[in-house]
Amino acid sequence: MMKDSFSSFHPIVNFGYFAAMLLFGMLLMHPALQVIALLCALTYSILLNGRRAVKFNLLYMVPLFVVMAVMNPVFNHAGVTILFYLKNGNPMTMESILYGVSAACMFVTILIWFSCYNAVMTSDKFIYLFGKIMPALSLIFSMVLRFVPRYKEQIKRISLAQRSIGRDITQGNMLVRARNGITILSIMTTWALENAIETADSMKSRGYGLPRRTSFSLYRFDSRDRLVAGTMLALIAIMVIGEASGRNDMRFFPSIKMAHTTPFSIIVFAAYLLLGMLPVIIHVVEALKWKSISSKT
């Protein structure tokens, strides 16, 4: 399968897209918009992660959705439409059941968006974006990401060396094994700290902290990015106007009240759908382009 083409856009486009979708996902409670968001998130996650996403969504998201939807009416008794009374005398209301479904839908949508975010916004993109604004913190962040696999590697080396003198965690009785394990971690920590100081001195001698540093990954904001960013901004503007004019309003308590559907709200829904599906649309267009190019030769 072809690599997701939205990932190849400028990091700011990627980040802006996810920021907008997460923000709208958390803020908008209108059922039509929620369904659109869930649909877009599901489609994109399946496009990105294939079979793994289907498994993740069925195995974790569906039970989570059910549990959350059931949890709310049990603890929340607001609302005017009483359906029946629970054994402990608390009323079960239609509003709280529907709110539970809506909140569960929102939470699941956001989790699925995050699973897409994890696939698209790799750590080097994140550092590229925030390296200019917070250089020290993003440096710490990138070092930690590098250290973790490095320490795992080092632990392997230390335990191999210890094994040759009979002090590995696979040798001796339980107590000896545990003690050997702690010794290995202790050696590891000392090494990590010593090594860190050496790294720091080496960084300093190569001019860390001097102005005009470069990034590992280079990204160019080209015409393709401009086109997509412009489209995104236009769609977001429509959404904001829709929100401000009350087209997306939804109230659950005390009674359910939804904004009337007008022609303009259809436009808002369409804009949301288009915005959410943007990466999928880009992917399909690129795939078609590729096909038409490759078939000619």
Binding site: N76, A103, M143, I197
Partner: protein, 245 residues
């Protein structure tokens, strides 16, 4: 540069306090009001998330502003990496994690600011391995604030570098601070409006997880606090690191 660093500490603290004061007194109430009037008081989750992010902002800004040295950066990175590696090493035991123990040691050994940064970084980066989600800011803040409080209490002499003292603080802070904040975070997702009942339900269901987490913190502090503090002291003496007085 060196002299500048030596004369700075007093001003640094006050600048952070000022920034925090502005955030707490102006920006956070404004956000809550915006939530009530513009968003019809229904978006508790979103508003609480914003507030958590605000509280972390002063730390980040002050830290960036004073242009930390490479050595200081890297020690924070090493401690955070050890915490992350520890969290992933115990992945098969839910809640039984050494992160809080290492964050407390960092706060005691290198001061409140380093404690906060180690905690927040460990929370953030470990979720790159475990998966980011809406819980990330809550975890970052909880880990960070425990490290910060450990550093302050140690500076004030209320927290000693002894096993008993560290273990008591570790257990209590994990149960009360970490559990308290994380459960509040998950309560904001479930209920449409604040209610003691649903909050209580979330705390009750989370209590056993928090208890396991607290026991893990006590256990790890008991085992690693002494050797770890010795190692950090050794590094500080050997290379003349961050002695801030």
């Amino acid at each position: 540069m060196q002299e500048e660093q030596l004369t700075k500490p007093n001003r640094r603290l006050s600048r952070r306090t000022l920034l925090s004061a502005i955030l707490i007194l102006v920006v956070i109430p404004a956000t809550i009001l915006m939530g009530i009037y513009l968003l019809n008081d229904r978006k508790y989750y979103f508003i609480s998330l914003l507030i958590i992010l605000y509280t972390m902002l002063p730390f980040a800004m002050v830290f960036e502003k004073r242009k930390p040295q490479a050595r200081e950066l890297i020690v924070i990175a090493v401690l955070a990496a050890i915490a992350v590696a520890g969290r992933s090493a115990f992945f098969m035991l839910p809640q039984f994690k050494p992160v809080v123990a290492i964050v407390i040691i960092a706060g005691v050994s290198f001061g409140a600011e380093a404690g906060f940064l180690v905690g927040a970084t460990a929370g953030f980066v470990s979720n790159f391995f475990f998966g980011q989600g809406p819980w990330t800011p809550w975890q970052m803040f909880s880990f960070g604030i425990i490290g910060f409080i450990a550093g302050i209490l140690f500076q004030k002499g209320l927290l000693r570098r002894r096993k008993l003292s560290l273990c008591v603080f570790g257990g209590l802070s994990t149960l009360v601070i970490y559990g308290g904040i994380i459960n509040l975070g998950s309560a904001t997702i479930f209920s449409p409006s604040f209610s003691w009942q649903s909050l209580l339900a979330v705390y009750a269901s989370g209590f056993w997880f928090d208890l396991v987490h607290a026991i893990a913190t006590v256990f790890f502090l008991f085992i690693i606090s002494k050797p770890m503090l010795e190692k950090l002291d050794r590094i500080k003496v050997k290379y003349g690191l961050i002695e801030r007085e």
